[in-house]
């Protein structure tokens, strides 16, 4: 026995995205559609709306509901020290180079709930360069940016993060970086004090500073090619000469317009260095 699964047709999806851009200014039209459609459908089904029309009415009548929609349909899965081998390269090969600069600016683009930013701050502290570093953390989604800013994470994730930390070459007791209270872990304010949080939409916002290191991991996979190029050009404009660009393990600048200005710094971990 089977029942017909509810679905959102492609043309319905396209028209929904146009309406969203018109009313709210969030432009998802160049997001990869397969993933977006799946997440919008699952959000719609979870909401138990009586009809697709009711769902749309709510979306366009209730701005708070729309922000919740944005939070749910964009992917916010992240971990501290995710891909420990990647962090090991940062720690061993890149931070020593950054340490030679008088002042270090790092941009986490698409920071989500901030796990990666805190991982970076911990490594900077261990390299004794946190005091001269600023970590800019941005996401299109104000709710996750607020969460990142709070420095509060679920304590039950800490065991995994601690393992990742050790595998990335961390030598301290990971629990010295936070205070656990009931089921929450609050990270040291010394780490947060070097962070700047802001909303920034890679689709529509422009370059806002110059950095020595930009990290944008597992964000480009959700964008269509044209938008990927736009974002890579934005990073190129925002990166100092000899700066580093770090992407997710399945992402590349290989087919983009900026590729000729970069050399692979660590091909496996998807880190490039700007050479002109």
């Amino acid at each position: 026995m089977t029942t017909v699964t509810s679905k959102i047709e492609w043309d319905e999806l396209e028209s929904l995205l146009v309406d969203i851009t018109d009313q709210y200014g969030y432009d998802f039209s160049q997001y990869s559609k397969a993933s977006l459609q799946r997440r919008i459908l699952s959000f719609y089904l979870k909401g138990k709306f009586s009809s697709y029309a009711e769902f749309k009415n709510r979306l366009f009548d209730d701005a708070a509901f729309f922000m919740y929609f944005v939070e749910e349909v964009t992917v916010n899965v992240t971990e501290m020290f995710r891909d420990p081998a990647f962090y090991k390269i940062l720690r061993k090969k890149i931070l020593p180079i950054l340490a030679t600069y008088p002042f270090i600016r790092i941009w986490h683009a698409g920071c989500s709930t901030g796990e990666e930013v805190y991982s970076m701050a911990i490594m900077l502290k261990e390299a004794n360069i946190l005091h001269k570093s600023l970590l800019y953390a941005t996401d299109l989604n104000p709710t996750v940016v607020e969460q990142a800013k709070s420095g509060i994470f679920k304590v039950n994730a800490m065991q995994q993060y601690s393992e990742n930390y050790i595998n990335s070459g961390g030598q301290k007791d990971f629990s010295t970086y936070y205070r656990a209270n009931y089921n929450l872990a609050k990270f040291d304010e010394e780490l947060t004090s070097r962070m700047v949080f802001s909303t920034h939409n890679l689709v529509s916002d422009s370059s806002f500073n110059e950095f020595q290191l930009i990290l944008c991991r597992n964000v480009l996979i959700y964008f269509e090619k044209k938008l990927q190029s736009r974002v890579l050009e934005l990073f190129d404009k925002s990166l100092d000469n000899l700066g580093f660009l770090a992407l997710g393990s399945k992402e590349s600048i290989k087919f983009s317009s900026i590729v000729s200005s970069y050399i692979p710094f660590d091909a496996k971990e998807k880190i490039w260095r700007k050479m002109k």
């Binding site: 089977t2 699964t5 492609w10 990869s32 559609k33 397969a34 993933s35 996979i221 399945k250």
Partner: protein, 189 residues
């Protein structure tokens, strides 16, 4: 097994015990077999980075890890990378997605099959192999509604029966085939 519709994509899903079946199927494909195949296996991230090499050694078809934005082309076997979901776009390119696990799995067979069925419909064949997890069932239920061809490995032959049995129990699938039967089916495409 007459085909009323030309199959343009085959998607094979499996978990524990399925590699064994795939290693028997691939070498037995006819020399002129060109239908693209997507393989979605539950992989251990740390230990099996050699999967593509292992498969490539058994077939003349090109075997690579699926890359995002890559176009699906004939004569090519795409393997879903560990720790990402693999989806298919309307223009027959591949997308990767690092969203929540589904059925404790990333890649999830359900995610890939639903996405492929959405695009290929009656031109898709789905094959569910051995496994110890319910992943794949929701996908084939959806694909069946979209008119895709569904084939499930005969549990009597599967090393781990849970996945094929679960899929059989939740669909009206009649094509419960041995590995030999699956090979014959593929060679008939």
């Amino acid at each position: 097994m007459a085909q009323d519709e030309m199959i343009e994509l085959v998607i094979i899903g499996g978990s524990s015990g399925s590699l064994d079946a795939i290693l028997k199927i691939l070498p037995a494909l006819d020399p002129d077999f060109v239908t693209p195949i997507i393989i979605v296996l539950h992989r251990n991230i740390a230990s099996d980075s050699m999967l593509e090499e292992v498969l490539a050694a058994r077939t003349r078809l090109k075997v690579t890890e699926a890359e995002e934005k890559e176009k699906i082309t004939p004569g090519h076997i795409y393997v879903a990378p560990p720790d990402y979901h693999l989806l298919i776009e309307k223009d027959h390119t591949l997308s990767l997605d690092y969203s929540e696990k589904v059925n404790y799995s990333r890649p999830s067979i359900d995610v890939s099959i639903e996405s492929a069925a959405e695009i290929y419909g009656r031109k898709l064949a789905c094959i569910i192999l051995s496994g110890a997890n319910a992943d794949g069932t929701k996908g084939v239920v959806y694909a069946e509604n979209m008119g895709s061809k569904i084939i499930i490995q005969d549990p009597a032959e599967a090393l781990v029966t849970f996945m094929p049995e679960h899929a059989i129990g939740h669909t009206s699938v009649k094509n419960i085939l041995s590995i030999q039967g699956i090979i014959l089916f593929l060679n008939s495409l």
